[in-house]
Symmetry: C2
Subunit: 140 residues, 2 copies
Amino acid sequence: MGVTIADNQPVERRKKIAKILEEKANGLCPVHDFLIHFANKWSMLVVLNLGYAGSPRFNELKARVSGISQRMLTVTLRSLEEDGLVARQLYPEIPPRVEYQLTPLGKSLLDVMMGLGEWAAKHEAEIAKARKKFRGRNAA
Amino acid sequence: MGVTIADNQPVERRKKIAKILEEKANGLCPVHDFLIHFANKWSMLVVLNLGYAGSPRFNELKARVSGISQRMLTVTLRSLEEDGLVARQLYPEIPPRVEYQLTPLGKSLLDVMMGLGEWAAKHEAEIAKARKKFRGRNAA
DNA sequence: GTTTTGAGTTACTTTAAGTAACCAACTTAT
DNA sequence: ATAAGTTGGTTACTTAAAGTAACTCAAAAC
């Protein structure tokens, strides 16, 4: 039995992704490695909000990213900085002033992330409907 | 002080995302809500692999998604099913046979996810470099 | 009658996320 | 002069999520 390619989407592109994903067999799949770091709500929401906000300061960003705690914002920003997605600019005044912004790499990721954001906004209702249906089925 | 829009990217698109993200103030941001469910490595890797694999059975999928445990695959698939992204087809034989595939909604998300996958593959080296640099700086 | 099979559970451990209090060091208000 | 407020964190602690390993079901093959 050969490998099955799912229908009705650009096949070439799929093959490309497939090849990338298969490198995981050798333990070096870049998608896997990246998602392990980056695939969490705060990283994604921070990148999305940074894309909009320009160069916000720590507390501006905290206010913007709804529900995030001070600790998780620090942790998330350090992680994004580590991956080269976010630049941290410290002005050693007192009280301290720190500005965050996307690096060029971060901005290139933002373009992709906006696609995700738009998708989520567009299909909100459909997802809500599916959840309701699922819960109905599994209530019994 | 007005709202700052970051430079050199399509501004209209940003405004759109910004508007969506700001709904969070009312506690109903669809992007936020969706990411809280979906933004984790296993959900994303499962969708990506399902896009490639067609209609794999449980253990095929488990073999494909490197590093995932039986429990996490079950949990992840249930969550994706709940959101209407994945369809589960049970054939009540013994031993049981179960096939999973992306729904049309899941396929539409796959297109966006492939963008993320391609981005990760493309910028792998740049990220690795940034991480090295970061660790160098923070070793002291 | 013991083993195997596929798709899960269940019980338990470890890691990550969330909460809340605290800090440094300088400015402004009392 | 002392007290309070400022920003961008840290530290200690609690809860929730992820990871690990053993177990289940019912029939089929050995």
